[in-house]
């Protein structure tokens, strides 16, 4: 496969319609995909951030 293969086109998705003119708004709770994301989130170990012991790099 050529790395410039035109078959590797990006997939552009339409953004969610505007609801207000300025500033972040409260999320639309009916958004598709929300439930599956929350399902992933509930499986996350609540203490894992305390186990993430990193060194300073560059």
């Amino acid at each position: 496969m050529d790395m410039n293969d035109p078959l590797r086109r990006e997939e552009k998705r339409e953004s969610t319609p505007d609801r207000e003119d300025s500033g972040p708004t409260s999320p639309d709770t009916s958004r598709p995909g929300r439930d599956s994301i929350l399902k992933r989130m509930k499986k996350v170990d609540p203490k894992q951030s305390e186990k993430y012991k990193q060194r300073t790099g560059q």
């Binding site: 505007d18 999320p27 951030s49 300073t56 560059q58």
Partner: protein
């Protein structure tokens, strides 16, 4: 508009679950690296590269990139790429090489590769470095030009920041002692849009670990120094979104082009960059107000729009990639004020902010609850089965810039159009042989020959020359790989136009 070469270096974080896991993080990183090379995906260094890089510390990959250990972190440097699609593809290929190693070692339940830039508990930070090749005549020595670049980098975080909970009020890791820095009160920050903003105390500096700067001024071209300069930036966050990676690198390349053409406006210079970087990142109302050198007040969004309009005026129509950058830069700036959902999958901080907000409400949590911080980390987990970013891909909300097939191909094949192609050829020929070698970005030397083979022009593939060179030493074709090699054809190097 000139041709560019792009590269990304990523330092990965490593999360070990379970206190009784048999290896410590440094040993885990070492074993992941060794596993990748033991699969025949590259060749380990046989020589010292530096005092802290002994033989075997890392090596070059068949895809032309490099995997190594650096300051306790597993690090992947992409090969030199001539376009944004290749860049995103090879960045992703590196992610997958290390994630697959974790899975093949049977550690997926215990070890997570986290592609972020900060430890929320200790405030340790580690980088994502961007590389852009420019001509030696690039006006890098003039102070105002550096300030122009700084103004762009400080404000681009509104669309390429990866976001984080909390702040580093830099006491625990005060690695910039002695550096001028405003004393500020312990700010209570729930969420900020950049991971690195709190860790950049200088506007200009040449070093990369201490006293990090918005514009790194180190002059290390890794190519012919009479022709080229490498702009090496360490101010950015690692992005999970392919779109964000492409837009971050693409817009920066356009601004470098404006600077090189003398079209960048002095009006863009900020009154003070380091403070602005932090105040934009920490602004809880997302107004992103800034003060310009002339005293005028504006916002990061308006400044970016002005830079975009200038880029459109001078660079539109140059090629499809330039137009992609201009079109999508405009769309993101237009959509950012509409709220995080409007840029879901395109802007990492907004995607994370939306997820965390939903979860916070669902579980009635405080912003600083450790469960929410754990979700912040999980956004960057490269494990597709659990990492939160991958949930966006699963639901179709992630904006792809490449494809899974291209990423798979790019784990073992180098990009075309740069010297990485020739390097990939070399690596494949050396795998499984007993030849001695010394390889670096700018060339290599084999034990059978005292003379180094130099690859000083990153725009030249050197592929046919390297094949001829290897043939003269009975190292090509590599009998072990003969069935994998395409027939030799005229790979005349494409010189820079």
């Amino acid at each position: 508009m000139r041709k560019r070469i792009y590269g990304i270096e990523t330092e990965y974080g490593l999360l070990v679950r379970g206190s009784d896991f048999r290896y410590d993080p440094v040993e885990i990183a070492n074993r992941i690296k060794n596993h990748v090379f033991s699969k025949g995906l590259g060749v380990l260094d046989l020589h010292y590269r530096a005092n802290d890089e002994p033989p075997g510390n890392g090596g070059f990959l068949a895809n032309g990139g490099r995997l190594y250990l650096d300051m306790g972190h597993l690090e992947y440097a992409s090969p030199e790429c001539s376009n944004l699609v290749d860049l995103v593809t090879f960045d992703r290929a590196g992610d997958q090489l290390v994630q697959e190693a974790v899975e093949e070692l049977g550690w997926a339940e215990n070890v997570s590769i986290i592609k972020n830039n900060v430890d929320l508990e200790t405030n340790a930070t580690f980088g994502c470095h961007e590389n852009y090749l420019v001509s030696r005549s690039f006006p890098f020595d003039e102070r105002d030009n550096l300030k122009l670049l700084s103004a762009f980098l400080v404000t681009r975080q509104i669309f390429c920041g990866a976001g984080r909970i909390g702040a580093c009020n830099p006491h625990p890791f005060r690695d910039w002692d002695g550096v001028s820095m405003e004393d500020e009160e312990e700010a209570k920050v729930d969420f900020q849009i950049s991971q690195r903003a709190d860790h950049i105390p200088n506007e200009f500096y040449r070093w990369v670990q201490y006293n990090r700067a918005i514009v790194n001024t180190r002059d290390e071209p890794l190519s012919d120094p009479s022709k080229y300069r490498r702009i090496h930036l360490l101010v950015g966050d690692s992005n999970m979104s392919e779109f964000a990676t492409a837009l971050k690198m693409g817009t920066t390349a356009l601004v470098l082009e404006l600077m090189e053409q003398g079209k960048a406006k002095r009006d863009w210079i900020l009154a003070e960059s380091v403070g602005a970087m932090r105040s934009i990142s920490r602004d809880q109302e997302f107004k992103w107000e800034i003060t310009m050198r002339d005293g005028n007040r504006t916002t990061a969004l308006e400044l970016q729009q002005d830079i975009l309009e200038t880029a459109k005026s001078h660079l539109a129509g140059f090629n499809p990639e330039t137009d992609w950058i201009l079109e999508n830069w405009a769309s993101v700036l237009e959509d950012l004020p509409k709220g995080p959902e409007a840029v879901l999958g395109r802007v990492d901080w907004a995607s994370k902010y939306w997820m965390l907000g939903e979860f916070k409400r669902e579980e009635n949590l405080d912003w600083h609850d450790s469960w929410l911080k754990s979700q912040d980390l999980e956004y960057h987990n490269l494990n597709k089965a659990s990492g939160l970013y991958w949930g966006l891909e699963e639901s179709g909300d992630a904006f792809r810039k490449t494809s899974d097939a291209a990423i798979e191909f790019s784990k073992t094949n180098a990009p075309r159009g740069t010297r990485a192609d020739g390097r990939g050829e070399l690596i494949k020929a050396l795998m499984g042989t007993h030849a001695g070698y010394l390889i670096d970005w700018i060339g290599f030397r084999l034990s059978k020959n005292e003379e180094p083979f130099l690859m000083l022009d990153p725009f030249i593939s050197y592929k046919s020359e390297i094949r001829d060179y290897l043939k003269s030493m009975d190292l090509y074709p590599n009998p072990r790989n003969q069935t994998d090699l395409p027939p030799a054809k005229d790979e005349t190097a494409s010189k820079r136009k």
